[in-house]
Symmetry: C2
Subunit: 338 residues, 2 copies
């Protein structure tokens, strides 16, 4: 039986035989993210959100391109040794990624996982490496506050009032270069999520929509590997925001999972409450820059030995919302060890 050489633990989790290495990472953010509590952890902070581009959409693609180029340059790996680029973003037809991929000119795989895209890219990239299909894989993800607002909600010029449960889409792009060997944090295992939808229809409360899916993936991950939250120095969802994080804590505790302060959220970490973003940050770029910046720096410094990044995606669209649909949500978990 071929089934005997499967790299699986439990039902939903994959364990890598040769854990892929994060050889380098690079982050580029907008001014507001630069002024936040993680400001010093980012590699580049743009002075404004257009950065000499003619449109926010072009700016977002440039943001991603800079992050991808930064990760390549820092890795010491030459472009001809990179076999795939995996990327995604929030824009219709993931144009930020497509136009960045045009410039990077590597074999390209486009993903859509909303805010879970960095986690999804890390998981697929690791499978391509551990499966023997690539020498190096480049992963990159972006979001931009103004492109997302005008596509999903209102043009920012409108100045409409935001609800307190709303999250603020991060202007930022993060990229990592993964390899099969070398020094750096390693990707040990991954749990690809199922879609859960408990009927939440409020697009201004995506944290509540995503909390069940994130909790479900954490539960399955821990169950599959026979672990508890205490086995991790950090469990970071990305991005539930304050409302969703509170709900996920509650769901996990009610499910008998003793989760404590080690479970936090990239959307909670990226802004200071004084920045008036209400429930925290969101957008593909949020978990991408928090993970590729602060979290990886703390893993490399030895502060974190084992981290679980749980990317969370609200997989609706303005069209589905207008047609009365609720928000299908997903969580993808990836385990990083120092």
């Amino acid at each position: 039986m071929l089934e005997t050489n499967l790299k699986r633990a439990g039902n939903q989790t994959v364990v890598f035989a040769n854990p892929p290495v994060i050889l380098s990472s690079y982050t580029v953010v907008g001014p507001m993210e630069g002024q936040g509590p993680l400001g010093a952890t980012f590699d580049s902070v743009w002075p404004d959100t257009l950065h000499n581009e003619k449109s926010w959409e072009r700016a977002e693609s440039k943001l991603l391109q800079e992050a991808l180029e930064g990760a390549i340059a820092r890795s010491g790996v030459t472009r001809d040794q990179i076999d795939f680029m995996l990327a995604g973003d929030l824009l219709n037809q993931i144009i930020s990624s497509n136009y960045a991929a045009r410039q990077i000119a590597l074999p390209f795989i486009g993903l859509y996982g909303a805010c879970s895209t960095m986690a999804l890219g890390l998981i697929l990239g690791s499978m391509l490496l551990d499966g023997g299909f690539a020498r190096h894989v480049l992963v990159g993800v972006s979001s931009h506050h103004d492109t997302a607002e005008r596509q999903y909600r209102m043009p920012t010029e409108h100045g409409n009032q935001r609800s307190m449960s709303a999250q603020w889409t991060v202007t930022g792009a993060g990229s990592v270069l993964l390899g099969r060997s070398g020094n750096g944090p390693r990707i040990a295992s991954a749990t690809v999520g199922r879609i859960l939808d408990y009927g939440e229809t409020d697009a201004n409360n995506m944290g509540a929509a995503m909390a069940p899916a994130v909790s479900d993936t954490i539960l399955n991950h821990l169950h599959d590997l026979n672990r508890t939250p205490a086995d991790y120095d950090l469990i970071a969802s990305g991005d539930l925001g304050t409302v969703g994080l509170g709900l996920a804590h509650e769901v996990l505790k009610k499910s008998g999972i003793p989760v404590g302060q080690e479970f936090t959220d990239c959307g909670v970490m990226i802004y200071d409450p004084s920045q008036d973003v209400h429930a925290g940050g969101s957008g593909c770029g949020c978990s991408a820059v928090v993970f590729a910046g602060s979290i990886l720096q703390r893993v490399r410094a030895g502060e974190f030995k084992r981290v679980l990044l749980v990317g969370s995606g609200a997989l609706h669209s303005p069209t589905s919302s207008q047609q009365g649909e609720s928000i299908p949500s997903i969580g993808h978990a990836v385990e990083i060890v120092g």
Copy 2:
């Protein structure tokens, strides 16, 4: 060196050590596709494009769900033996796939590759299987004429005149269930494409935009495996249409590749000229239903021993077009053997 166990041939092509098996396939199409030359090859033909749903978007998701359920049922594989569902479509935030994935309830990976998505899903699914990460993988892709028209161009109620180079978005969904062993056509190798963009800005001439990327991927695939077009019984792009197919023939011949009548296009195959679709079919569903229907049937019947499906994606959006951008295009090739 870990590099020694890489499954690669040449620069861009992966060769599977244990070629994954296509255990089953299922196709669902709209009435117009059912009336076309391949009508008898589809598993289900809807009598109309709404099929009792309230919106075309809901109908598209239902179309995909039926195709996915059909492939599962026909395979004899139980749902708990399927480890991943890979899907994508043309709609913003791939909602057809997300809502279908909510119903199917398998660990879900969302893809965006425009009309190349079926090929991309076959490639990634094969990597997950051959890499040892899954027992079975479900792949599904959809498009719908009316959802695509109103999102990308004009509402169909508008009745505006279409240009002669325009392609007709197929209403249809195709699904395949892949496994690690068993009987059926096998996926032998794959070539993930790079984005090429020669400056075409006319969204009503996507075949011209995509022809260079498709030609580039075919060239690389043949070069990496040291083959000629004569080694294939069929090379089917999906979907260049008549205009793009003619251009791709020209590009390949000028590049010294002696391509003949074995190179055709799913968008050319699916409609009869009398159906007045101008340059042929397009949309994720086009190559999905032609491949999962007619092509696989002819492979199973022994008529085709070796087929190359080259999914082609026009990776623009209405927003990028409005901002004056050209159409970045990609081709992904997957080799199927009988």
